[in-house]
Symmetry: C2
Subunit: 406 residues, 2 copies
């Protein structure tokens, strides 16, 4: 490894410098606020899990397990870095018998997958998951749809959702003559309709030995009673008619879904990749924990990385004002403390640089205001506030400055 | 591994259920706000680092490296989980030549150490670090002290700081006749004065072959000019006189400190463990990156886990109101959406349980208000708002409810 490689973040992972991190923090903060409005409580689980948990046969499945980072601790315990936030949730439910239902939790955290690197795919990535555990009613599914609408409205992104139902899709395939043993794999091919096109899907189906005209069947499919019910519940929640559409070809990659599946994608965007997705998984928790009793669950997961790629830029720095003392450092520092007490984020030159160097530094950092602290002005109880965008300068008191900046 | 063990978080790591996570989020949010007021910008680096970075001989040192979780990716690259946030910062500075100075960054994130488990020590833990890179002036050190005061004031915790200077301590030891080769290890022993007492330290020193009356020398030591300067800068920043005291026995565990060292501890608390600590490390970044040019730096690190142990309890749930429909589910859901639009965090019963079961659920969750939505009241444009603490009930409009709850 060369020195230069050594100094990079590991392959497939990234550093987020302030400007990018400010944007990510804003996205995460916005999603968190919407999750909480809908009554989800926060949960934190460790990044490390016992490998037995991650390899539970009802969890992520073979493919994901191949991409799981494995390690051992000094006590020779087999561990792994979590590949999603659903498995930790299942573990929490399984290990807390006394948990009152419904249990609505959200978790915003990193997950890791040591998979092939494609555009927009990373080995360390951030997920925001909200799940409702313990509610059988499709009103919980509808709540996930309404939550998604609120999240993207708050993020200022035009997103639409596609929705389908696994039981319904399974029924369609059965009616079309696809044997039960092949239906799961057929669903995965159908799911790629948007990505690889009709020809691509037909080729895959042929390879899998499925000759029936699945795509015709799907194209002509009318929503089931259950899907109709979901749509009426979405209406109760004020979900806009054009926000969510029925799409019989939507299947979602994971095996554990049992009912509703949904996916959000950018409306009118060039990027076809999904910005969120989820569905109902009524059997997973019971199977995972070896319990008899069914524990219904439905949830939605937002990908911070793909959202950050399309969200509008935010400010370059959190700093709102940069104080430049002219032989007045002690006074400038006291003024900075006054401004902070009034809620202004600020920094003071501690390197005794010239005014022009300091103005240059502040401008390049993207700081909106400079405050020049001169003895002359101080005598009059004033400081010089300079708008670094317009160049406009004003003599103001500290509290006037705080008001203008804030 | 038994089923029950399998379902636990790995040894040395923890799950944080909602009540605990709400408190941690509040602590982190409070610290983040103070960091930003002092003009620090956020940074995010991956949890995984190339092992060569973590094992850099100027970084954490042998002891920490023994406790580092190691793993390989599928390309056989040697990786590790970061054991602190300072090493990633050094890597960022070293790999970004064009970074404007000063660079004030903060990072709030997990770190991992596979070490022995003692009270309050975990293998996965959360650190909040703020560092000023590029400033030689002791005013930067003083800023870290002022920042610490602001953080603990905002957290409502009575904390005091001890401060010392490595160069000064080194000079004291030299004057007392401790040879240079032994000074680093002697400092580590002296640092334990609070923890293992005077007898313990003297025993350790004897074992290390140091016979001079170090502790007498230290007890009588008067602050150096540099420490005096730091105190005067603290005064400029409005740091309270009793917030920070000189302590010639403070050394801090890490080798890389070159000047000021400081540590915060609970004032009057039974727990002597530190709640934050840091210092100046002027040589680390240059040595780490193999550069000629010295890059001065000073920083402070707050431990979320120990702070969470002593911080006051917060609310049990983020949910502010629980809506209980009486054959009015669709209307109750619409009202919940209205409340959310007015910023109220709420949830609706979707399990069609009885009023008493719902009230019981809401109370046990710690939700402050229940809203009973009955047809009769709806006709008058009202809902029944019940204060679950006092039991008091009121008929109010939705916006009146939002005002009372918010």
């Amino acid at each position: 490894m060369t020195d230069e490689q050594m100094l990079q973040a590991p392959r497939g992972t990234r550093d987020f410098m302030p400007q990018e991190k400010i944007k990510r923090d804003w996205i995460v903060g916005t999603i968190k606020r919407e999750f909480e409005k809908f009554g989800f409580n926060p949960l934190e689980t460790p990044a490390l899990e016992n490998f037995d948990v991650l390899s539970n046969k009802f969890a992520g499945g073979e493919e994901i397990l191949k991409e799981t980072y494995r390690l051992k601790d000094q006590g020779n315990r087999e561990l792994g870095l979590r590949y999603d936030l659903t498995v930790p949730l299942c573990r929490i439910i399984a290990s807390n018998n006394a948990l009152a239902m419904p249990f609505k939790r959200y978790q915003i955290a990193s997950a890791w997958r040591d998979g092939p690197l494609k555009t927009g795919r990373y080995r360390e990535f951030t997920q925001c998951d909200a799940d409702i555990v313990g509610v059988e009613s499709l009103r919980a599914d509808a709540e996930c749809v309404a939550l998604t609408q609120s999240v993207f409205d708050a993020l200022g992104l035009k997103v639409k959702m596609r929705v389908n139902n696994r039981k319904f899709l399974d029924g369609l395939l059965a009616k079309a003559g696809v044997p039960e043993s092949k239906r799961a794999t057929v669903m995965l091919s159908i799911d790629k309709l948007e990505k690889i096109g009709r020809d691509g899907v037909e080729r895959e189906l042929k390879e899998k030995g499925v000759t029936v005209e699945i795509l015709e069947v799907i194209k002509d499919a009318k929503p089931s009673r259950e899907i109709g019910e979901l749509f009426s519940y979405c209406e109760e929640l004020g979900v806009r008619k054009d926000f969510v559409v029925f799409d019989a070809s939507l299947a979602r990659g994971l095996n554990y879904y049992t009912g509703t599946v949904f996916e959000g994608y950018l409306a009118g965007g060039k990027i076809k990749s999904s910005v969120c997705g989820g569905g109902r998984y009524d059997d997973l928790i019971a199977k995972f924990s070896g319990r008899e009793q069914k524990i219904p669950a439905v949830g939605i997961s937002f990908g911070v990385d793909v959202i950050a790629e399309v969200a509008a830029e935010r400010e370059k720095t959190v700093v709102q004002a940069f104080l430049i003392p002219i032989k007045t450092t002690a006074r400038a520092i006291a003024i900075a403390q006054e401004l902070r007490a009034q809620g202004v984020n600020c920094a003071v030159d501690l390197m005794e640089r010239s005014i022009s160097k300091n103005l240059d530094y502040a401008s390049k950092q993207g700081i909106p205001f400079a405050i020049i602290v001169g003895e002359q002005e101080l005598k009059a109880g004033k400081i010089k506030l300079r708008d670094l965008q317009s160049g406009e300068e004003k003599l103001v008191s500290v509290s006037e400055a705080a008001e203008i900046i804030g």
